[in-house]
Amino acid sequence: MHPWVIKRLLGALLTVWASVTLAFFALRVVPGDAIASQLLQGGASEADVAARRAALGLDDPLTVQYINYLAGLVRGDLGRSLLNRQPVSTLIAEQFGATAALAVSALTVALLVGLALGSVEAVYWPRLPGRLAGIVSLLALSTPVYWSGSLAILLFSAGLGLLPATGSGDTAHLILPAAVLGFHVSGSIARVTRASLRRTSGTDFVRTARAKGLRARRVFTHHVLRVGLLPVVAVVALQTGFLLGGTVITETLFARQGIGQLLRDAILDQDFPVVQGVVALSAAIYSLVSAAADLLYGLLDPRVRVEGGHQEHD
């Protein structure tokens, strides 16, 4: 395997380990746990709670619990939910499909809309199309998802009856949430696209290309866009990780399955193994996504070699 791939894999493992450890101890800093809360609300006595916690090993010294958890993690065993005994890997697998579907479609919308808005704004500013694009991207950034989502539901579902509002089922159910979420994400992509494009338009190599007689559009797509896209790639990578990590507000609003709800409920219920499992997954996803982003940097601007590229400095 390529040495770069090995390096990144090791880095990913390190990231996953560090994230899970951080989550493990943070969860136990917050007082209480799922068992105590549920049992007390179910009518148990303190003695019952203590007995149950001891049986589940929640009373063992922290280091013991931690080592046991790591040992399981290495074997691929993410443990079981404290509240419903399901294996954490099953819980995550059940919800991840819906999250992935939403993430992919929302990202597509975000890329198309964001890149378009940002480019239009960069190229046409200060004329009207530029200003309009700017306003739209600003609206995308300053409107919380629960607002744009509610309005979308009111308009397209309740009002016009065009699209189903809730549920995870098929593509039809994906349209509204993907559009709403995608629009929201497009805001940051549009802004950074605009900023990057305006910067790189005037640099030397663009002038050189134009001097060579290349048409403006080709100059734009083949030179300006490619280097200017580096910060955009960074933002897209961030948003990909964010979307794949579960978007709880969108899931709640549109009554969809997804990792976001799983995580939020697990955090509030203090269901440790589930939180730890989702954090491990998130860490792996972010590692993967950053590696892909770095690869893209290299592809977009051949002068840049991010990994192993030491020719720039001493």
Partner: protein
């Protein structure tokens, strides 16, 4: 860049494929019922959420039922029952004509298998086990007779046995699936059978054609609903929208403002149900200055305009609460309505009498600086004083995010401010944090409310050594009333005991009761027979029918 565009259609196709098979193969008529929160699990023997009872109440039968109107206990899977003279054993005589959805015959052994499961430590029951109280095993007397034993008399047992958490499941099915996976393959004897449970998405039940042993209040309409699909609507504003758009035919926990809108809508009907158990209330910390003073506590209740809260926060879809139990709870005592009606004048004089005679520039009350010549018996404070040495009337209230506590707290803050009481509100995120705040002790009021038909739930809050005794109030007589009320099966004695308990709690102003919370259910007018059981939460699904094809 080009590659990206090529991938998109591929990915979209992938996305579309993650959808599961539609339920078009299930029998009509079909409705969608909106649940409002996603319980962590759907196993009635294990999980504690009341939400799971909404579908599962109709999948299982229980040994006894409670009539939704009279609240009396009527036969269920048991035709009759006897209580021994010492109150320590209940003998149940079971029906012999019942079978489970999977064909397994119902008998005493089946009940035994269920009890075994509930008490087994491997099961990890979060509620059902504790509903059995001082349960001490069973004896199978014969094929259709079983005796349950207790270590001490326990009056709430029948009420427990009438609830879905102690529903009787097929022993064959219980043996086949472990405690983690049974929830996906539930088998009972009820009027509906479970088809599938997709976590986070839906739970589907269909009618059981063989059902012939229901309680008398299960009517069988001419055109009953064959399939009910339960979906989750956790976001409150979308609930009413889903109802209006036809995404759901029934929806629980509508927002009060939406219920207002619905009341004017000819295609929807509102079914408000007052929740039995505790009202939305605050426990008052009797161990901390100044709420250690009875007059101050009483003043606080007098100072709270609860009717205004019902108006603003609940749009009149609730009732003012006067005591520690709501009006739909067993053995609720109407005497409590005589305690502390809204009277700001009375509040002021009580606070003045308690020593808060000073008023600062903003109108806030304070206890004047201790005077060396003051009469003995003047309240002394360990609370913070300001520069002049006087002690301001400053209170702290801890609240959870549910049951509209934040809105209620803010209104109370505003109301008390007019009288010169400075209230600080601290909101916590979950029950664990609430408990933590209670353990820390630096609060004067803390919001907590449990639901349940049987008043023995008060034991958790008011017995001297109770785990949730967050007011810190200890009273041997109150302990006696509550304990006797729990032990004595005779309803007349229970009535006396709980009346005394409610009176004592209110005399001592241990709680600030605010509102009898109403669960605002909405349903399409096409739905006939909509009614709820004695516990208030759970719909009588077998009685539902559609007058026209208004399904999804």
């Amino acid at each position: 860049m080009k590659y990206l565009f090529a991938l998109i259609p591929l990915l979209l196709i992938l996305a579309a494929c993650t959808g599961s098979t539609p339920a078009s193969s299930l029998p009509e008529p079909r409705i969608v019922y909106g649940l409002t929160l996603m319980p962590t699990g759907f196993d009635p023997h294990i999980n504690a959420s009341s939400e799971l009872g909404i579908p599962l109440r109709s999948v299982y039968d229980t040994l006894v039922y409670r009539d939704p109107v009279t609240a009396e206990f009527v036969p269920g899977l048991a035709t009759r029952w006897e209580l021994s003279a010492d109150g320590l054993s209940y003998t149940f005589y079971l029906r012999s004509d019942v079978h489970f959805h999977d064909g397994t015959p119902f008998n005493a052994a089946a009940v035994a298998a269920n009890l075994d499961r509930i008490v087994s430590p491997d099961t990890g029951s979060q509620k059902a086990l504790f509903m059995l109280g001082p349960y001490n095993g069973y004896q199978v007397v014969d094929d259709f007779t079983i005796r349950l034993n207790l270590t001490e008399p326990y009056a709430p047992l029948l009420d427990s046995l009438s609830q879905v958490y102690l529903g009787i499941a097929s022993p064959t099915q219980l043996a086949q699936y472990d405690t983690a996976t049974y929830q996906f393959h539930q088998v009972g004897t009820g009027p509906y059978r479970m088809v599938e449970y997709v976590p986070g998405d839906r739970l589907v039940i269909t009618r059981n054609p063989d059902y012939a042993w229901g309680p008398p209040f299960y009517t069988t309409p001419a055109n009953p609903i064959q399939t009910i699909e339960f979906r989750f609507f956790e976001d409150p504003p979308t609930r009413a929208l889903a109802l209006e758009s036809g995404d759901a035919q029934v929806m629980g926990e509508l927002l009060p403002v939406d219920a207002q809108l619905l009341a004017g809508n000819p295609t929807q009907r509102l079914y408000p149900i007052i929740r039995p158990g505790q009202p939305v209330q605050f426990m008052i910390n009797v161990r901390r200055f100044p709420t250690d003073n009875l007059s101050v506590r009483q003043a606080l209740i007098y100072a709270t305009n609860r009717a205004a809260i019902v108006d603003a926060v609940f749009q009149r879809f609730a009732a003012v609460a006067y005591g520690p139990l709501t009006q739909t709870t067993d053995f609720y005592s109407p005497d409590v309505t005589t305690f502390y009606p809204f009277d700001s004048g009375q509040a002021e004089s009580l606070l003045f009498a308690a020593g808060f005679t000073e008023t600062d520039a903003e109108g806030m009350l304070a206890l004047p600086a201790p005077n060396p010549t003051a009469a003995p018996g003047q309240p002394t404070a360990t609370a913070a004083t300001d520069q002049s040495g006087s002690v301001p009337l400053r209170l702290t209230m801890v609240i959870p995010p549910w049951s509209q506590y934040p809105a209620i707290a803010q209104l109370i803050q505003s109301q008390w401010r007019i009288l010169g009481i400075d209230l600080e509100i601290r909101q916590v995120a979950n029950f664990a944090q609430l408990r933590e705040a209670a353990a820390a002790g630096d609060y004067h009021l803390i919001g907590i409310t449990f639901s349940g038909r049987d008043p023995s739930l008060l034991n958790q809050f008011f017995l001297t050594a109770a785990p949730l005794n967050w007011s810190g109030y200890t009273d041997i007589e109150l302990d006696a009333y509550l304990n006797e009320g729990t032990r004595q099966p005779d309803p007349a004695i229970r009535q006396q005991m709980y009346a005394a308990a409610q009176r004592r709690i209110m005399e001592q102003a241990v709680v600030l009761p605010v509102v009898d919370y109403a669960n605002l259910n909405g349903a399409s007018t096409a739905l006939e027979g909509m009614a709820f059981d004695a516990q208030g939460w759970f719909p009588l699904l077998p009685n539902l029918s559609l007058t026209e094809s208004a399904g999804p």
